[in-house]
């Protein structure tokens, strides 16, 4: 399959704007459709590799992807343009939706529906964790780490500022011994 990166900054901007504009239910599938299937900016393998890196880096995954790809194609200007294109419309959508919600939030039915949506969203996190965790299920050290980390963060409510460095250090030592 022939792929060619965007030629102009404007093309990059509108590509990412288009991703952001229709990304109902998660950005990743739309980013894939736009960049790999429709506009053919990058290959499937390249996309997967880039997203893999961005999932590993701190920060919003798809936001980081816009920085990395923008830089690759147009340097600093590309990063800024891709990031702004991606965020512009969703930022307006979400504030508008929240403004509408705030007008109706005194209505108990609206409040119940939105709370239900929030709980379902929390469930999607749990589902994502299970999906990602399946690959680790056969490694006892990984399960111990997951359980310990969960207890520290979700139950004891320790600050992540302490838990993440400590957890990463332990995990790194375990990974070096091939326990992970």
């Amino acid at each position: 399959m022939n792929v060619a990166p965007p030629k102009k900054l404007g093309e990059l901007f509108f590509g990412f704007l288009w991703i952001g504009a229709r990304s109902f239910g998660g950005v990743l599938p739309w980013a894939y459709r736009t960049m790999v299937e429709e506009r053919r900016w990058i290959t499937h393998a390249d996309f997967t590799e880039t997203i893999g890196l961005c999932q590993f880096l701190p920060g919003p995954n798809i936001g980081n992807a816009s920085i990395v790809l923008g830089k690759r194609w147009f340097g600093l200007a590309g990063s800024v343009v891709a990031f702004l294109g991606l965020m512009a419309l969703p930022f307006v959508w979400v504030l508008a939706l929240f403004a509408v919600y705030n007008d109706f939030s005194a209505n108990p039915l609206v409040k119940a529906i939105v709370t239900g949506v929030g709980a379902a969203g929390a469930g999607l996190f749990v589902g994502t964790a299970v999906k990602l965790g399946r690959a680790l299920a056969k490694k006892p050290a990984a399960l111990v780490l997951i359980a310990a980390c969960f207890l520290c963060v979700a139950v004891a409510r320790f600050s992540l500022v302490a838990v993440i460095p400590a957890g990463l250090l332990l995990a790194w030592l375990a990974a070096r011994r091939d326990w992970l």
Binding site: G26, G59, G63, V117, L124, L160
Partner: protein, 171 residues
């Protein structure tokens, strides 16, 4: 003053948010609700819900929290503070990461991060579904949506819609 505090704290979270926004939801909730009292637990859950239901990256939840705390300037500051430090890091690391594709430490690091990310995302789900004291109805909705996600491969918006319906019936 609040804006500065918000910027500094979200900037710090940006740098430790391995796995993205879901990983730092417990910490955001702890800070914004428990430590600062800027939002009630219920308001936090509802801001999260709106952020999930709207199209776009889920990082926009940060801007809704910022809005609640300090209006539109708060929304802009929170979003940029959460994105900028990580973006600078991504900008520098991307090439380095490619260059060390086959280095053993890179594989070690990747394997080390995986279980931490799983635990953080799981914690995010738990904390959001447990805003005050445990409520079986919220857990039932969250459990159903998790199960549906694992069993059928459809747009997650359907799970959110189902959650809204269950919310209307149960809550």
């Amino acid at each position: 003053m609040t804006l500065v505090e918000l910027a500094l704290y979200f900037g710090l979270l940006s740098l430790i948010s391995v796995g993205g926004m879901p990983s730092v939801m417990p910490e955001m909730q702890r800070f914004v609700v428990d430590v600062k009292g800027w939002l009630t637990p219920g308001e936090f859950l509802q801001a999260f819900a709106v952020g999930q239901a709207a199209p776009g990256p889920n990082v926009l939840i940060a801007s809704l929290i910022g809005w609640k705390v300090a209006g539109i300037p708060g929304a802009v500051v929170a979003l940029l503070a959460f994105c900028f430090p990580a973006a600078v890091l991504a900008w520098w690391v991307a090439e380095l990461w490619d260059r060390f594709k086959d280095a053993p430490w890179r594989r070690t690091t990747q394997r080390a991060i995986a279980p931490i990310v799983v635990a953080l995302i799981l914690s995010g789900g738990f904390v959001i579904a447990t805003p005050d004291s445990p409520d079986w109805r919220l857990w039932l909705i969250a459990g159903s949506s998790a199960a549906a996600m694992l069993l059928v491969n459809v747009n997650p918006l359907w799970m959110l819609a189902g959650g809204g319906i269950l919310g209307a019936l149960l809550l």
